[in-house]
Structure formats: C-alpha cells, structure tokens
C-alpha cells in the first residue's frame, strides 16, 4: 500500500463495501450480457454496470481520496454526471439503430418472450449485404 496517509477503519470499510458492490453489479451485468438471448434483453443487463456499478466505484474513490487529502475531492462527480447523462443517449441511438436493422431484414423488433439464460442466441448472424 503506497498511500500517502493511512485511511481510518470506518472509511476503509465503507470504501471496500462500495467498491465490492460496484464490481459485483458490473460483473452481474456482464454475465447478463453474455447469457441473455436477445439483443434488447442484453441492453437491459448491460446498463447495470454503467449506472450503479460506475457510481459505486466512483463514490468509493471520492470517499477514499477525501479521507486521505485535506479537503473533499469532488472530481469524481464529473464522471458520474457525464456517464449518467451520456449512457442513455448512446443506448437510445444504438437501440434505435437495432430496431431499424431488424425492420430492414423483416424481423419482429419487439421482445416477445422472457429470457432463457444459457440457451442459444435467438438472433441469427447478420444477413449478407446486397
């Protein structure tokens, strides 16, 4: 541990809990990304890591550096606010593109059944372009 000062026990426990929560949520989201069977379900799973996981780790970082420094560190709020605003914008663009592509190849864009984790992918590969 090469930290300049030693964090207190309360800060260490809180930061550890937050970091572990964030990592667990991100891992569960990535697991959902791998195991769910349609694209629209996978979008749903992957937002876990980009919202709660991201915010937890950044809050832990904020807490730790505030405890080690002499004044509160608020830089992490920049990433939290930016990611909270930008992630929905990017995913809306992506899902709109996916619906457009589904309609172009005549697939039904709506999610009709519940997820079947571990099953084969319901979506086939891309059709070759004309």
């Amino acid at each position: 541990m090469t930290l300049a000062a030693e964090p207190g026990l309360v800060v260490a426990v809180l930061a550890s809990l937050l970091v572990l929560l964030g990592a667990t949520v991100t891992l569960v989201g990535a697991l959902g990304l791998l195991r769910l069977s349609s694209f629209y379900e996978r979008v749903h799973a992957s937002t876990m890591g980009t919202t709660l996981g991201m915010a937890s780790v950044l809050l832990a970082s904020m807490l730790l550096f505030s405890a080690l420094g002499t004044r509160p560190v608020l830089r992490e709020l920049v990433i939290i606010v930016f990611m909270t605003v930008s992630t929905p914008i990017g995913f809306v663009l992506l899902v709109r593109a996916a619906r457009h592509r589904d309609a172009a190849v005549g697939r039904e864009p709506e999610v009709v059944t519940t997820g079947t984790p571990g099953g084969t992918d319901r979506d086939g590969p891309d059709a070759p372009l004309e």
């Binding site: 541990m1 030693e6 694209f39 991201m54 730790l64 992630t87």
Partner: protein
C-alpha cells in the same frame, strides 16, 4: 484486520471481478451475433476498463489514473454514439 490491508484485499478482489467482466464482454463481442451486439459489448468493455483504472488509482493513491478514466469515459460515449449512428444511417457524417 488493519484498514489498509482490508482496502487492499477488497480492491484486489474488485479488480479481479471487473477484469472477469471485461473478459465476458470480449466473449460477447467476438460471438456477436449481430453488429449491435458487438457495439453493446464494446460499451460494457470500456466501462469495466474505466472502473479497473479507478481501482488501480485507489490502490496506488495516484490521481493520474482518474484523468485516464475521464478520457476513457468521454471517448467511449463518442464511440457508442458514432457507431449507433453508423448502424442507423450507414455513415457517420452526412
């Protein structure tokens, strides 16, 4: 258990889990099956990588990793938006 040791162990465990999340995203990116799945996997990959950078910064006590994480987050959003637009239109700037 002392505070630095607890923190070190938690950060190490978190780094392992986040790296595993990156690996799962890479598997999904290679498997596809369609282009939008690969873009989505890229999004999860860069967010997990950004969180790994932040945990490295917390372990070393250095503030430089924060700046790297900020850049990764901003460029990642531009990537997702541009690729989504490309999939929708076939071109990024018209």
């Amino acid at each position: 258990m002392s505070a630095p040791l607890l923190l070190e162990l938690s950060l190490l465990l978190a780094q392992g889990m986040l790296t595993l999340a990156m690996g799962l995203a890479v598997v999904r990116m290679l498997r596809g099956p369609r282009a939008q799945d690969r873009v989505l996997a890229l999004d999860v990959l860069y967010v997990s990588g950004m969180l790994v950078l932040l945990t490295i910064g917390m372990r070393t006590g250095s503030t430089h990793f924060f700046d790297a994480a900020l850049i990764v987050g901003m460029l990642g959003f531009v990537t997702t938006a541009a690729l989504g637009r490309f999939l929708l239109r076939g071109e990024v700037i018209e």
